[in-house]
Symmetry: C2
C-alpha cells in the first residue's frame, strides 16, 4: 500500500523527475562528492539517508539534487520525506536499487541521497550578537575532530566557528558524519591566515582565550564576559605562533594524570560549554 | 658517536639479547597484537614508538618483550630509552631495519616496539578513595571513543572506569592510540552485565548519574557529593534498560541547536571535568 502512494507521488511529479543510470554525469558527480572530492562549487556536499536529509531540511540548505530509489523505500516516514524533498529539490532523479546499492556506504540503503550546498559566510556577511561566543580552529587536521567540534558548538550554542590554516573542507564525508548535521547549521568563516583572524577578532573587541595545557590560569577561573573567542590548535603542533603575541590570554584544562593534554575536540567542547553555562548561571 | 654508545650498551647485555627475523614466533605474536588480535593473555598489548614507551615506563607496566632496531636509532634520547628498556624488559630482541619497517605503521619507525601487559583489576581488587568518581561505559562500540574517554578520565582524575556489555578489548591498537597512554594508567574493571555493575555501585553507596539528553536536570545543577558514578551508553542505542530502574538520576547536557546529543566521548569528558571542578571549588 505504501509503495502505491509513493508511485502516485512520483507520477504527479513526473515532469520534474529523470531516471538515470550508473553512467549519468550526476552519478559521477555524486560519487566524487561521496568519496571526499569536491563538486561544481566548493560548497557542494553529498549526504545519504533519511536522518541527514531531515537535518538538511531543518537547516534550510539549498537542495541542488535529490536522488531517490523508490524500490528501497518501505515506510510512511520515507514517503513523507520524499514528498518534502520533491518540493525543495531543484533537480530530482530516480535510480534503480542496483545503482543505489553501488552509491551507498550502507548494507541496506534507505533510498535517499542528496546534493546540497553549504551556506557561505564571508567575514563581512557574518552578523553576530552582543557577547558573542566564537570558536577558532587553527590548523586542525582530522575531519572527525572538526566534525565533533561543530556538533558540540551546535549543542552549546556557539555563534560561529572561525577556521584558519585549514586544509580540510567542510564537505568532507567524515566531517559531515562526525558533525551529525551541525555542519549544516553552524556558521563557519574561513581565514587563510591566523594573522587575519586575530585582526578580525581584535577589531571587534573579542577577548581571545588560547587553550594551552601549560597555562597557569585554569579554564574555570575566568569570567568570560563580552565577546569571547576560544582558540584551539593543531592536534600535534598546537597553535600558530601569532596567537602568542600580546593580547590573548592562555587558559588550561588541568591534567591530573599521565597524559599532557586532552583530545582537541574534547578540549574545545569543555571550553564552549563552560562559557555558556557560566553565562547562563551568572 | 651515538651509535657507538648504543653498540656498547647492546654488547654489555648480549647474553640477554636475541637477534630475530621475520619468521620468528615473537614477530608473529607481535604482528597479531599490532593488527588488533589478542596475545598469549588477553591483557597483552603491543605499542610502538619512544613516546608510548616512555608512558609505559612511567605507568610501571610489566614489559614482557622489547624489540629494538639499532639501525633506526639516532638520538641520545633513543639510547637513554633503550637503556631503561633493557633494565625493565623480560625479553629483549633486536631486528633488522627491514623487519622493523615491515612491523611499523610509520614512514620512519623510531626503532622501538614493546609487548607489555595491562594491569588487571578485579572488582574486588579495586581500592577506591572516599568520594570516589568512577565512569561507567555501557556497551560502547568505538575503540576511538573509549580511548578518548580514558584520556579524559586520566586528565580529570577519575578514579576508575567500569565497563559493561563491552566487545572492544582495552588492547585494541586504535583504543591505545586514542587514549594517548591513559589506558596504561587508569584502573579499568569489566562487568559482563550492566546489572552486576549496578549492584556493585549501589552496594558501595554510589549515587549514579545517567547521561541522557532528554533529562530535565542539567548537569551543572547537581551537587556531586559522596561517591559518584557517571554512566554513558552506546553510541547509537544509549544505555541498557536496567539503568532506568529506580535509583539513578538522569542528567542532561543542554543541546541548543540542530543536534540531539553530543559525541559520547565529549559528553563523558564534560561530565567528568564538571564533577572534579565542582569538588575543587566547593
Amino acid at each position: 500500500m505504501e509503495y502505491r502512494e509513493l508511485k502516485s507521488l512520483l507520477d504527479r511529479n513526473l515532469h520534474r523527475i529523470k531516471t538515470i543510470g550508473m553512467h549519468h554525469e550526476k552519478i559521477t558527480e555524486l560519487r566524487r562528492l561521496l568519496n571526499g572530492g569536491s563538486g561544481e562549487s566548493g560548497t557542494d556536499l553529498a549526504v545519504e539517508g533519511m536522518w541527514a536529509l531531515q537535518k538538511l531540511l531543518t537547516a534550510g540548505l539549498r537542495i541542488k539534487a535529490f536522488i531517490i530509489c523508490p524500490e528501497c523505500i518501505y515506510s510512511i516516514e520515507g514517503i513523507q520525506l520524499a514528498e518534502k524533498m520533491i518540493v525543495s529539490a531543484e533537480e530530482i532523479y530516480t535510480v534503480s536499487k542496483k545503482v543505489m546499492e553501488k552509491l551507498s556506504g550502507r548494507d541496506k540503503p534507505d533510498g535517499f541521497i542528496t546534493i546540497a550546498e553549504l551556506q557561505e559566510y564571508g567575514e563581512r556577511g557574518l552578523i553576530l550578537p552582543d557577547r558573542a561566543l566564537v570558536m577558532v580552529l587553527d590548523g586542525l587536521e582530522s575531519p572527525g575532530n572538526i566534525g565533533t567540534i561543530l556538533r558540540s558548538c551546535d549543542g552549546a550554542g556557539v555563534d560561529a566557528v572561525l577556521l584558519c590554516n585549514m586544509n580540510v573542507r567542510m564537505t568532507h564525508p567524515k566531517l559531515i558524519k562526525a558533525s551529525m548535521g551541525a555542519v549544516f547549521r553552524v556558521p563557519v568563516v574561513y581565514f587563510a591566515e591566523a594573522e587575519h583572524c586575530v585582526k578580525w577578532l581584535t577589531s571587534r573587541d573579542y577577548q581571545i582565550y588560547l587553550a594551552d595545557s601549560a597555562a597557569v590560569d585554569g579554564y574555570t577561573s575566568i569570567s568570560y564576559e563580552n565577546n569571547t573567542a576560544l582558540v584551539v590548535g593543531n592536534e600535534r603542533y598546537g597553535l600558530s605562533d601569532i596567537w602568542y603575541d600580546p593580547g590573548p590570554r592562555l587558559v588550561s584544562i588541568p591534567m591530573h594524570g599521565l597524559c599532557d593534554s586532552l583530545n582537541v575536540g574534547v578540549a574545545a567542547s569543555i571550553l564552549a560549554y563552560t562559557v555558556i553555562q557560566q553565562r547562563q548561571q551568572g
